[in-house]
Structures are given as C-alpha cells and as structure tokens.
C-alpha cells in the first residue's frame, strides 16, 4: 500500500530540469543550498521530520520507563504527569508514542530503502539495457504493480510466527517498488539517449559505471525524492499492517497503538488521547516529508520556482 501522491514521473512537472542548456540554470551546489534555505516548504517539512526523529532517538531520555510498563492509573486523560494520558492498562501513551516513532522511522528507512534499491536497480537496468531485458523487467514490474500490496503483506504476515520490524520492512520493500522502477526507467530512458552516455561508453566505461557515474548523478535529486515518497509509503503500509494486528510481535509502534486503542474500545470510551497521537505522528512525519519533497522539487527545478 504504497501511496505515491504525486509520483515524480507521473506529473512531468516533477521531472528533473533538463539542465544544461543556456546560461541562467543551476550552477553549483552553492546556489542549490541558497535556494534550499530560502524555501519555506523544505525548511518547514525538514524541521518537523527532524524534531520527531529527535524525539524518537531520545525516547529513553524523555520517558523514564519502558513503553509497555504499567505506570499509573488506567484511562487517564492527558495531564502534567502523563502528557498524552494513559491506556486501559495504565501504560503511558507518551512513552509508547516516542518509542513508536522509532519503529516508524526504522520501517520507513528500511522499507523505503529496500524499495528504492529494488526500484532503482530494475529501473536503471530496464531503461539502460532496453530490448528483451526491458520487456521482461517491465512485465515483472507491471505484475507487482497491479498486485494490491497490503493484501500480499497480510498473507505473508499471517504465516510469519515471528514478526520484527526488519522482516516487516523487508516485505514492504519487496512489494512497493514498482512505481519507483517505472519512474526511474522513464528517466533513464530519456537520459541514456543523451550524448554524454555514448561518450562515456567511448571512454571505456562499463554499463555499471555509466549508470553509477553518468546517469544516476543526473537524477540524484529525483532519486532522493523518490526515496522520500517510498519512505512515506512504507510508513503508511506498516501502520496499516500493525493496525490490522500484524505488527511487530514484540515492542511498540504507532500502528500497534491504534490497533490496541480500537481493540480495547478507546473509541467508545472516548479515550481520544489513545488513538489521536499515533495517527497524528504518522501524518506529521509523512506529510512533512511530502511537503519537503515539494520544496526540494522547487529547489531543483527552477521552472517551478518561478511560479
């Protein structure tokens, strides 16, 4: 259940600028940094992400006790002692929240990372090699693309006795790469018709070298944005799985918090503090990353900047 809200290639508006022609285009990283710091979407999105990341990283410092420990009276609304209130079992929601952020970031980075790796590998090879290789990879991509990934994940998770964040990320990564592969393939296809690719081949560079040294750097901003979208998709997919009840068998996650909240009647009991923070956390992370992406796009793509 990857959800690319505007997969960079779908809207050609997101395609990297065909930089290169006359003057006035992006010069050096210096100029990029200058525009990056002035871009409110980028700075704002990044701040939110970093803040939450920091909270997750500093979880043990922020809360004295493990996330699932019973620390107070149950069903308490937020108070000075328990910022986000307590659960039915007297667990501190804030403690669960900050620890849950950790697994959210982990699943995003791992799942998004695996998906990005597979997607890029498939996209680069299909786009650059063309021919039968492309046909076959394209076919595989399309097959995985139409398979509803949450359903596949559910089936896989159902038979896993031991579910950790890593295994979950692995399966999410393996099901959510296709749109990235398509996007990377399209970009690669258009770049590999450029003369500098031929020139690199004439300089004795092998296929892998051409991809790594010539094609990838040209779309580095694009690849980075693709990774961010995959990260967001992985976070949402993991949340969905956790919510259904296929979360990590041990530990805590934001999706699992929502699962428990619903399971133990938080809705009917009006315990909004139990299910609002985890969802808000996910929305904030994913939303901030998407907004950050728009900012990045504006920085990398001067055409949008002028809008």
């Amino acid at each position: 259940m990857t959800r690319p809200p505007d997969e960079p290639a779908a809207g050609p508006a997101g395609a990297p600028a065909p930089a290169g022609h006359p003057a006035g285009r992006r010069t050096a990283p210096v100029r990029g940094a200058h525009f990056a710091l002035r871009n409110r979407k980028l700075v704002g999105g990044l701040s939110v992400v970093l803040l939450l990341l920091l909270m997750g990283a500093a979880a043990p410092l922020l809360t004295g006790q493990p996330p699932n420990a019973e620390v107070g009276p149950p069903n308490q609304p937020p108070s000075a002692r328990h910022w986000f209130g307590t659960t039915n079992f007297g667990q501190d929601v804030f403690a669960q929240f900050v620890y849950g952020l950790r697994s959210t970031f982990l699943v995003g980075a791992l799942g998004g990372g695996i998906a990005a790796l597979v997607g890029m590998a498939v996209g680069f090879v299909a786009g650059y090699r063309g021919g039968v290789v492309d046909e076959v990879l394209n076919m595989i991509t399309n097959v995985v693309l139409v398979l509803p990934s949450l359903a596949v994940l559910l089936i896989a998770a159902a038979y896993l006795d031991d579910r950790g964040v890593a295994v979950q990320s692995f399966f999410i990564g393996l099901t959510s790469w296709p749109w990235a592969a398509r996007a990377v393939r399209a970009q690669t296809l258009s770049l590999s018709s450029r003369d500098f690719v031929d020139l690199a081949r004439l300089s004795g560079t092998r296929t892998a070298g051409v991809i790594v040294r010539e094609i990838a750097p040209n779309m580095s901003s694009y690849l980075f944005m693709t990774f961010i979208l995959l990260f967001g998709g992985a976070v949402l997919a993991a949340a969905g799985l956790d919510f259904v009840g296929f979360g990590p068998t041990d530990g805590v996650s934001l999706g699992l918090m929502m699962h428990n909240a619903v399971n133990w009647g938080a809705l009917q009991l009006g315990m909004w503090w139990w299910f609002v923070p985890p969802g808000l956390g996910i929305t904030a992370i994913v939303g901030a990353m998407y907004i950050m992406n728009v900012g990045l796009d504006e920085v990398f793509n001067p055409r949008l900047r002028e809008m």
Binding site: P22, A23, G24, R31, P302, R305, E306
Partner: protein
C-alpha cells in the same frame, strides 16, 4: 509604414537578475515587406519576435513603443494585446511541430479557437480549405489528430492557421530550422506566396540562417547583443555590408563549391557579450578588428544609404 518599433526594451527575468535581451531596438517595416531577422543565439532575435506577439511569463516590457498602422500595440498588457493577436499580429512559432493540441482533431481545435475569438467558423471554412490546398494539404487533415500528420504537414497547418485572418504582421520564428533542405525551400517559398496573395501584409522571418533568409526577404536585419547592428535591403546587406559584424559573419559562411584548401574562411574570435550586465558602448567592440576609443560610446542606428541602417561609427 506598417510597423514602427521605437527604442524597444524587453528584459528577461532570471534568478541571477534581469537579462537585457532587447536593449533599445528601433526599426520600421513597410507594407508588404518581408524582413529577415538574423543573429546568433542569445542575440535577442527570438525575444524581439516574441515581444511583438506575446511576452511570456518571464519577459518584461521595460520601455519603447511598438506601433502597427499608427496604433500603439500594448505589448506589455497581455489582456489588451489579445484584441490584436491573430487579427492584426500573428506568429508561426519555433515549435510549430508541437503547437497543436494532441488530443483534439485539428478541425475541432480550429473551430473552437475561432469561436472563442468571436469568429463564425462557417464563414471562414471555405477560405481555410482553399489555403490548405494551396500549401498542398487536403482539407481532410482537419479530421485528423496531430499525431497522424508528419512534421512538415503540421508546420503547414500552423502556417495556414496563423495567417487565416490576414494579419498585418506575421512573425515567423525559425520556421525552417527543423526541416530538411528540400522541404525548407517549399516552406520558405510558401511564406513569400502568402505575402504575394495578401494573406499577410508584412513579415518578420526570424532565423539563424542568413543564406536562407536571403532567398525570400526584401530586407535583412542583423542583431547583435540585444541591439540591431544593421538593416538593409537584402542584396545590399549581402553584397555591401557596412557593419564589421555583418561582414565577418558573411565571410564565415561556406558556400557550396568553396573548399578549405582553396579559400580558408575564418570565424569571429571571442563570444557575444553577457546581457546580464552588458558592457557600455558598442556591443561588438570586444570582437571588432576596427574598434577604437570612440566605440566606448554607443553608436546610433543611422541611415547611411537609402533604407540602409547601421549602428557603427566606422560605417559612414
């Protein structure tokens, strides 16, 4: 005088600042005159062509006037300019191959365009078909989608559509540069034919190819660094150029039959000036073999012979 451009200044906004793409351009165009506008890339020729029809989002009208048949064209005001477009001034854009909406039948697009300009489609249709036949297209192309036509066919459709309302001024921007030699000739000759038949009163043909424009133009303007260097009747410009830039440029063009062993031609050393912050005085000064101190002052664009204008102190 069909067209009178006086001291036109148009700037291009970029992230680094304003590029002075047109920095004081003055010329006149007579009724029925086809003028070629030649220059290197970055000389401002395309900007000049565009600014007479439609300034794009990054172009800004900074100064100067454009008059067509004595009426001022509000080139800086897109909404007011709309009244003139298509009817009075029209364009065949550089991108003619992709100028048609890919998902509309050509005839439908023409009809919707005409209706949006308040013109009855019925009244114009016979003339449209006649003109399509004139450029060698069957009227059935109107039932086709652009993807069904070849590049040359699309080019001709755009040519007919742009001139359908008999505009007083047509700007043809690099209309032949994407075409093969053999089709190039047909398109160029069609432009002349359109003028002869009165479909277009006068015409500015923007090009980087002097020899092509010489074939069809009555007069030729040479631009350099955002200004006009020379404007003269085509023959005079080619046989007796006055501006050192024009001379060097013509000398750098190989003709069929010229071989480097027999006659080694030479280019113009150096490059065109940066228009972000152009140097004072004559823009060609840095590359000009004749330059001296006087050239630090900007030479006026003066008439040195009948209809022959030059911006050079040495041209007198």
């Amino acid at each position: 005088m069909a067209l009178q451009v006086s001291d036109l200044r148009v700037h291009y906004r970029t992230v680094r600042g304003d590029v002075r793409a047109l920095d004081g351009v003055t010329f006149a165009l007579a009724d029925g005159e086809i003028t070629g506008l030649a220059g290197e890339s970055g000389s401002g020729k395309t900007t000049l062509g565009k600014s007479l029809v439609r300034l794009d989002g990054r172009m800004r009208h900074v100064g100067g006037r454009v008059e067509l048949d004595g009426r001022e064209l509000p080139i800086g005001d897109s909404a007011r300019m709309d009244r003139f477009r298509f009817h009075e001034v029209s364009v065949i854009p550089q991108y003619a191959m992709s100028a048609l909406n890919p998902t509309r039948r050509i005839g439908t697009m023409v009809r919707e365009l005409l209706r949006s300009r308040g013109i009855g489609h019925r009244a114009v249709r016979p003339e449209l078909e006649r003109r399509l036949r004139l450029v060698g297209l069957a009227p059935e192309v109107l039932d086709r989608y652009p993807i069904e036509l070849s590049g040359g066919m699309k080019q001709r459709v755009v040519m007919v559509l742009s001139t359908l309302l008999d505009p007083a001024l047509l700007v043809a921007d690099e209309v032949t540069s994407a075409l093969d030699v053999s089709t190039q000739r047909a398109v160029a000759e069609a432009l002349v034919e359109f003028r002869d038949r009165g479909y277009v009163r006068s015409m500015i043909v923007v090009t980087h190819d002097l020899s092509l424009v010489y074939q069809i133009a009555d007069s030729i303007m040479v631009m350099y660094g955002g200004r006009l260097a020379e404007k003269a009747p085509a023959d005079a410009l080619v046989t007796a150029p006055r501006h050192p830039y024009t001379r060097r440029l013509l000398a750098a063009l190989p003709e069929p039959g010229v071989r480097h062993e027999d006659k080694r031609l030479a280019g113009i050393p150096g490059g065109p000036p940066e228009l972000l912050d152009p140097p004072a005085g004559c823009r060609f000064r840095a590359r000009c073999p004749l330059a001296d101190d006087r050239c630090a002052e900007q030479p006026p664009f003066t008439e040195v012979a009948p209809a022959h204008f030059v911006a050079c102190w040495k041209a007198g």
